[in-house]
């Protein structure tokens, strides 16, 4: 067995288990933490497929920014009202089962009726190549150097702005 298959099995089982754990927890904060774990496992799977940029974005944007936002909202909300999220309503249950079944059929179709041996079209091959860290880094530090630097100043200005508006004491 080569290392790729071992890694795949480990990451895929982590992803599957963490998503099951996530939807069965009563405490929403614990659910959110398991969702983060799920995102990390998925990012590992993307890396195995050589989609480096998507893997990094998955961690920075989803696991980093969006989930932190989620956690903030959950912690600011009153934990007393949390169980109200789990009200037993027929319509909601029916609808969620319908959506899950739809997604499941789609994925199952892709796995069992897809054509893994099909060769990539030139466009697809180019997009795979453009997604590597090397290609993105090269673009970022040559053609897009000025917008990249300006993005740095944008973040600096936003940090200073947040400091000015939210710092506790100002002398």
């Amino acid at each position: 067995m080569n290392i790729q298959i071992i890694l795949f099995i480990v990451l895929a089982s982590v992803a599957a288990v963490s998503s099951v754990v996530m939807i069965t927890r009563k405490n929403a904060v614990i659910s959110a933490v398991f969702l983060v774990l799920n995102f990390f496992a998925l990012a590992g799977l993307y890396l195995l497929l050589n989609a480096q940029f998507i893997a990094v974005v998955q961690i920075i944007v989803y696991a980093g920014a969006i989930m932190v936002l989620f956690l903030f909202v959950l912690m600011l909300l009153n934990t007393e009202t949390e169980h109200k999220l789990f009200v037993d309503k027929r319509a909601i249950k029916f609808f969620s089962i319908l959506v899950s079944a739809f997604v499941f059929v789609q994925v199952a179709y892709l796995i069992f009726f897809g054509h893994p041996s099909r060769t990539l079209t030139p466009d697809e091959a180019a997009s795979v190549k453009a997604g590597t860290i090397q290609a993105i880094g090269q673009q970022l530090y040559t053609n897009y150097i000025i917008p990249f630097e300006i993005a740095g100043f944008l973040l600096l200005a936003a940090t200073i702005g947040a400091l000015v508006l939210a710092k506790k004491k100002f002398e």
Binding site: I146, P147, I150, L154, A157, I160, G161, V164
Partner: protein, 475 residues
């Protein structure tokens, strides 16, 4: 096409401000007296960047793989932004103590916003427009609410942020559609194939979204709802920065995107610009009549001035480019002057910005009254002041493009606007003082007022000096 290190040399104005921002942050961290050092450092940086732009005005190149343009038209805009910001900083020094925000961070944010404007005015790629716009806007959102204890400032900041973010959403959606239709974000390509693209419905739709977003930023009717509250609620010096240099930056982007139209392509968007300019001129002038708060009145006057400038965009010929740039320069200096005088007279907690506070100003301080009268006459467009020639050039360009009806509407609305501008002069000279209070004239603010007044007079008496420079670079 310049190569290697020479590119950085040509990019000097932007680099001066960028290095200045980093330096200012370091000064802010390491010293306790940053609020005394930073204003002078900012002024030095702004003046250096302004003069560097002007000295290299003939070095017109597109640098860094078609990303940013230096020299030529961007150089004139950089001059307006930097001199405007330097004057605003000069008038802020004593005002901020009175306003209760004596922080060094204020100056860092002003510098960052100017860097954003300079990126916008030189943009040669839609990505650059977006980065510059966001850099400028985020600094403005914070500057509007820089005094956290003031409810009006918080309201202004929040309103500006929400509506500004909404406008940015429109712009991004427009950019996405333009990219989808053309397959590139390069403005060079957009200009070259503008006629082909204009028959593509997705491109036109995206462009209209883009224009709607920028109509928010230039404060044109019907996208003006935020203007009165934001301009009245923010610190007076911040308002003068937002209403002049911010508007100039937004107009510079519109001119970049429409540069194909200005050099001869048929103007598909003429109905759009004609509508917003007619609505803005009349709405701004008519509503301003009933305002008694001077900051609010100038906010409505700013809406109507956006309308006059949009006439030039509707006309869309080479002469109107020159007209708009001249108008923007004149408007920047006369508005900064007027707001600086308001900031001198203004008391604590937003008081003393009413017309009544200006009654009998001539008896208290003849020099302030005289310069305020000068700025009001200039804003009303009375010759021989700079404001008159701005309007004159724009109206002429409308007549050249067979838009005489728009020029007539512009003249009508100028006539209406004379009422509320002259009312201020009447209050200052022919009414006795209503409220009894002392005016503390800050020497720095007074210097800023005198410099702007002189600029207005020079551009008014010798309009050709500036106009010749502008026309020589836009060809």
């Amino acid at each position: 096409m310049p190569q290697n290190n020479y590119e950085y040399f040509l990019l000097m104005p932007q680099l001066i401000i960028a290095v200045g921002i980093v330096l200012s942050v370091l000064i802010e961290i390491t010293t306790k007296k940053s609020e005394q050092i930073l204003p002078w450092l900012s002024i030095a940086l702004f003046v250096a960047a302004a003069f560097d732009s002007v000295f290299n005005i003939n070095q017109n190149f597109v640098l860094f793989g078609g990303m940013i343009e230096v020299g030529g038209k961007p150089a004139i805009f950089n001059f307006i932004f930097n001199i405007g910001a330097a004057l605003v900083v000069l008038s802020s020094i004593d005002y901020l103590k009175k306003y209760g925000t004596y922080y060094g961070e204020y100056y860092i944010l002003v510098q960052s916003s100017v860097l954003g404007m300079m990126v916008m005015s030189g943009a040669k790629d839609i990505l650059m427009i977006f980065m510059g716009l966001e850099l400028m806007s985020i600094c403005f959102y914070v500057l509007a609410g820089i005094n956290r204890k003031k409810l009006s400032a918080n309201e202004a900041s929040m309103k500006y942020f929400l509506l500004g973010a909404f406008a940015t959403g429109f712009i991004v959606y427009g950019i996405a559609l333009i990219y989808g239709a053309t397959g590139t974000t390069s403005i060079q390509n957009l200009v070259e194939n503008f006629v082909t693209y204009s028959s593509n419905i997705i491109f036109v739709l995206g462009f209209v979204f883009f224009l709607i977003g920028f109509s928010f930023k230039i404060a044109a009717v019907p996208f003006h709802m935020w203007v009165p509250d934001v301009y009245q609620g923010s610190a007076t010096t911040v308002t003068s920065l937002m209403s002049t240099t911010g508007k100039a930056a937004a107009f510079s982007v519109l001119m970049i995107m429409l540069s194909a139209v200005f050099s001869g392509a048929s103007n598909v968007f003429r109905p759009y610009f004609a509508t917003i300019s007619a609505l803005s001129m009349l709405f701004g002038s008519i509503v301003a009549i009933s305002q008694t708060n001077l900051k609010r009145m100038l906010a409505y006057s700013s809406i109507s001035h956006a309308g006059y400038m949009a006439i030039g965009l509707a006309a869309g010929n080479l002469f109107s480019v020159a007209g708009i740039i001249f108008y923007l320069a004149a408007y920047a200096f006369m508005n900064i002057g007027a707001f600086t005088i308001i900031s001198i007279v203004e008391g604590e907690n937003d008081s003393k910005t009413d017309l009544n506070s200006f009654a009998g100003l001539n008896a208290k301080s003849p020099i302030l009254a005289a310069s305020m009268a000068l700025f009001m006459f200039a804003l009303a467009g009375i010759p021989p002041l700079a404001g008159f020639f701005g309007k004159y050039y724009v109206f002429i360009s409308a007549i050249q493009s067979n838009l005489t009806w728009l020029a007539i509407l512009g003249v009508l609305s100028s006539v209406i606007s004379v009422y509320f501008y002259i009312r201020v002069v009447v209050f200052m000279y022919f009414k006795g003082s209503v409220e009894d209070f002392e005016i503390q004239i800050s020497p720095y603010s007074l210097t800023a007022v005198i410099i702007t007044a002189l600029l207005i007079l020079v551009f008014g008496i010798l309009p050709d000096t500036l106009m010749n420079v502008i026309t020589s670079v836009i060809r």
